[in-house]
Point group: C2
Chain length 164, copies 2
DNA sequence: TAAGATTGAATCCTCAATCTTG
DNA sequence: CAAGATTGAGGATTCAATCTTA
């Protein structure tokens, strides 16, 4: 089962590459990036935890640290007192903008470049399939909370135009 | 890039499944399993670190703990004083035998079952390709050290006969 | 001097307990 | 009482420094 080795080595290699070339580890980047992809650069903590696949506890600890660095700010939701909304600061957004290309580079070097086009398509389908099976194990309902209404640009599409 | 999400969630899910159903986390299982797949259930620490994709430091810490539980023993290599050989104890081998089916079950549930046969073949090819590219980044020469000469059975083929 | 390995300190993650709000 | 979130303690991981031997 060579894919077990893959699960062991690749995440580790990605994290190491991020630490080397940026001031963020992979998980911190994922959190900031998820916020930058959110409407108003804002999201409830619980949603953010789900997106980043972290426990609420882990996310709390990490966001506390990101807040100390002034990249994120937290505020309780006006319409639902037990929800806390995390918002990317301008400095945090700058950090995402600066880091995103390096993240793309790392993923490209580690995953995309070694594969040919059809393998990349296959991997995308496989990843989608496995993830949806994973999500089925903890089925859960929807949430709702107001978000700032401005339509800030997100960073999720960055790098897609850099041809391989 | 859905495979980034895969790298984030799958290893985490695998590790959690192992913790839940066994007394080992995923990495500890990998270490014991690698030893059980080695001739004489023995290997130099540095080789073991490579196989398990751990730093020597991380391996040292973990093997120290496994040694406390009497699952592994260490001894310096007679023919090369700076090499330390790690050996699986009988109790450690029993532990691997008990845990291996649960590991197989977890991998099956998380990776194999969601995919069809051709996707599984594709994933195997993809994993092999990515791993070999990864290894090329730290090219290194060979080592040599005597190992016990008995041909202990390994556990690497376990579970392969359990039809899907 | 470099390879193999270990150690300790600092950091990160997990788990269980807690707090607040609906 | 349940959902959302946080906290603190205990374990695990990393990084840099160290030790020993070829």
């Amino acid at each position: 089962m060579p894919f077990v080795g893959l699960l062991l080595k690749l995440p580790h290699a990605l994290d190491a590459a991020m630490r080397r070339s940026t001031g963020l580890n992979h998980f911190e980047y994922v959190v900031l990036s998820a916020l930058s992809d959110s409407a108003g650069h804002t999201r409830p903590m619980s949603e953010l935890a789900e997106i980043a696949n972290a426990s609420q506890s882990r996310l709390s600890h990490v966001v506390a640290k990101l807040e100390q660095r002034d990249w994120v700010r937290r505020a309780s939701c006006p319409t639902n007192g037990r929800v806390v909304m995390a918002t990317l600061t301008d400095a945090g957004y700058d950090e995402v903008l600066a880091t995103a290309p390096l993240h793309v580079d790392a993923v490209r070097a580690l995953v995309i470049d070694p594969l040919d086009t059809s393998q990349l398509e296959q991997l995308t389908a496989i990843a989608t399939r496995i993830l949806s099976a994973l999500d089925d194990e903890h089925a859960d309902p929807e949430k709702e909370c107001d978000r700032p209404s401005d339509t800030t640009r997100t960073v999720g599409e960055m790098g897609k135009d850099r041809g391989r």
